[in-house]
Amino acid sequence: MTGELDARVLRLKTELDDHSRIARYLGLDFERPIQSLNDGYPENAVAWVGKITERLLKQLWRHHNVAGAPAGKTLKDLIGGCRPYIRSHQVLDSLHDIQRLRNRSSHDGYVIAEEDGLTAVRRLLDVLAWYTSTGSGALSGQAPRLAPAVAAKAEFLAGLYVTLDYRPAKRFELSRHTVYQLFVRERGLRSEYVELLLSRDPGDLAKVLEVTGGELLATRLPKLTRFLILEGDSTRDVPAALLEDRRVVTYDHFMGTMVDLDQHLADVAGLYPRLDSAVLPVAGDLLTGDERSGQMQISEAGGAAALLQQVAASGGNLLIVGRPGSGKTTLLKQLVTAAPAAGARRYRFFFDLSLKGRKEPFADFVTRTLAPYFSVEAAYVFPAFCYFARAGSVMCALDGFDEAVPEITQAGFLELFTELTEVLSAESAVVMTSRVSFLEDSPEVRRLLDGTSLMSERLVQELHAQGVDPLRVPRFSVLRLRDEPSGGSLLAARLESELGGDSGASAAAGEAGDGGDELGELLWRHITQVAGPELLPRVVEFFGLALLRGVTTFTLAELVNGLGISVFDGGRIGSGGFRLRALFRPAGRASGVADAGEAGAVVAFRHAAYQELLAAEFLRTPGGRDAALAAARPRLTEQVRDFLHRRSGAAAGSSDCILPAGVYLVGPSHHLMLRRVKRPVQLDQFAVTVGRYNQFLAAVARDGSARWDHPAMPAGQAHAPWRDRLRIPDYYDDPAYDNHPAIAVSWWSAYAFARFDGKRLPTSLEWEAAARGPDGRLFPWGDQVDMSAVNCADTWSDHPLITYEAWRAELDRGRLKDALPGPVDAHPANVSPFGVREMAGNVWELTATVLEDLNEAVICGGSFDNPYRAVQACSKGTYRRRGASNAVGFRCARDLP
């Protein structure tokens, strides 16, 4: 045996001695493994460690009344049974290591090295340290037993110091209400000690001191930090000797020794938007998920601030959604900075997620944001923060979730959500904000946020794939902020008062009757006022394109490079002389030596909507859309689309149904995309009618259809409509229906008809682009919901059918039995910017786009039996090519030279 090994064994022995009380109580012999190591039989040491571990776990098993008797159980089964009571992953890992080593030593042919024996004892020490720190007298036989409340607190404190890489060195339960703990960690050659004396009863301390003659607590340890942790503020009965060199804190404020919360909250309050204490006059709906359909339903309505307080007080997680400028940030900041109600979470942290770098790990972002307020080393900021969060003592406010997603898709959301799960554990209270459209539009995201509703299997698989246990994902309620009755928004009101004077914009918006116009107008006025006509084009291009590339923070140096030195007064770089500063807020400093000084200061727009407006302005020109398409995955928010549509105004449309080549904005609001239409194409003004289709059938009856048929059309596929599917049996015979859409025909027949007509089916991209125009509108006629413009399920009911439940109830009541396709020209207002009619609603339309793997064709536009929100220009479905439905028709298109 080498001298070095000798020294290591000796150290382990010393550490084991610290746990002699447990050994005595449970009748364990810690000498045996040490002796085996000294004798050169590491396999025996491993076997002894295994036995001791089994004994510890059996005690734990009985203590927690785990079902079944522990006697005769294997180590593996014992670990499994006790698992729910062991909160520390580190301890579980240690137990598994011991089990693994023991298994190995009991197999012939495996050699157990000295190192293995040492490892086993080291792991046993980890388990013992935890065992001791759980502080239950029943487990370790320590007397007097701690009161459960005190034991829980002691365990919490011990866990915190273990998180900071300390290990428990000593622990004495001095009375039922008083416990002494000593922790140590090695820093290079130095050992750092922290001593915690926790007591619920100061009078108790005097007694303890008396009994021990002060000896127990005297210490000569170097580098020692000493805390006296009390229940209340009063130190009246505490012996003076204990106050001498100790920091006295109450348990509830212990976290305050590590973090300067007041400063953090003061800084939060000081950032734009400035806070006042007035209650926001914003109304909201509290939504919870319906367990069966996974859809969100309103459970309560009222003042948003009051609803928010209510959820916050109950400790639940909440997602606040609302339109840009609706007051989400202000509400969240008010909640965080207000004095916490009694019993509420005391420690509140605010994170502006718009400042998180897209590739920046969440842990780094938290560290960067909170390091100035934490007294622990940077490396421990995130672990300490997570420890507090998981212990349920923290409320974590995440502002602008949608602004931090790596890309604006469901996958992007999931990626960020997964990253946050370290904080979003079941014990956390998280309040986060997001734009309404982004999170509400994706059914998968809606389901994910509500843990009790049904998560789809794919989502579960993706979470598992990313290392997240879906059962650990917390459940969120949703607070949806309502638009103000006037249609205006909080941001608009603030801007209005700032810009003052001429209220022309709001008057103009008043005419349009929609507050969204007002916000865009006000923001634009502010931007033009600040930038001036000369700088404006560069501002649009630089910041607009930057947003589409996902860049929302800028160093002053980058601003000089992008906009020229003239954006700084006198050509001197500095925040004070930045000519656009009225639109911006400070956003920290760039890391890295090269950006030192003023040039390294970082700014971001005061509100994301400013930059979104500039992006929309940039996208208004075909050249802008071309440039944006070149960005790998342009970051297109629903607000950008909304502004693009609004700013395009009543741009002159056409009536010739010609879709020009170019780049178009397509996709649902949670997955907006730019796509290029390569060649101009002319669409049929109307869906193919029964009358036109009957002409085709007559031609087929005369000459056969071979010359028009798709080469891959299955044999035996006929072109006659599937009459069993028709609700009106003589739909194709009665001339009254000649002007109705041709339905109940297959994709193969639609294909053949188009060729018969000298045309083809449009692709689904062409179809959508023709419906939305260059400004990406939601419906062919614009963004407004216009009941009189469309044939959809709501048309046949007397109330809007927002949810599946509402639609289903209406169907079951037989109210939708009369719903049918109508004439293809029934709604003159249902017209696209290119003059194409009736694309939304009435019938789904088959397209040339086929998903070959599924052998299904993409259908567009929604039909008479779908609710309003499914008859948008971007609505899509797929249908098997040989299917024939009474809700599916088609129209044709013609290539132009």
Binding site: A152, K153, E155, F156, F254, M255, S293, G294, V311, S314, G315, G316, N317, R345, A391, G392, T409, A426, E427, A429, T452, L454, M455, S456, E457, R458, V460, P470, L471, V473, R475, S477, G667, P668, H671, M673, D724, R725, R727, S764, Y804, W807, R808, K817, T849, L851, L854, E856, S863, N866, P867, R869, A870, S875, G877, T878, R880, S885, N886, A887
Partner: protein, 104 residues
């Protein structure tokens, strides 16, 4: 500091997957009629992955705001009512194509 306040929005593990009765399965058959007004629409059959039992459902049981169809072989999540265990309700399709495929 350790006491985690339980609130209405707090996660309740027993209500998670399984506890609320959700089942997973595959569409194993489709009949061209038997549902919808006048029985003109299709009836579908789903076989539970775990139990192997088969339930029927009609087009209106598919939870979507869009087009209601489903193909044989698709994976779905569904519920059943104790009063009518042979009938699947709240059928959610799990194999929907990626949105970008619609634009290729």
């Amino acid at each position: 500091m350790t006491a985690a306040a339980g609130g209405p929005a707090q996660r309740a593990p027993e209500q998670q997957a399984g506890g609320s009765g959700q089942r997973f399965g595959r569409i194993t058959d489709r009949h061209p009629s038997g549902s919808g007004p006048g029985g003109r629409l299709g009836t579908y059959f789903v076989t539970d992955d775990e139990t192997g039992t088969t339930c029927s459902f009609d087009y209106a049981d598919i939870v979507t705001e869009g087009f209601r169809t489903i193909r044989t072989g698709e994976r779905v999540r569904f519920l059943t009512n104790p009063g009518d265990p042979g009938h699947a309700v709240y059928v959610i399709r799990l194999d929907l194509p990626d949105i970008e495929m619609y634009y290729e």
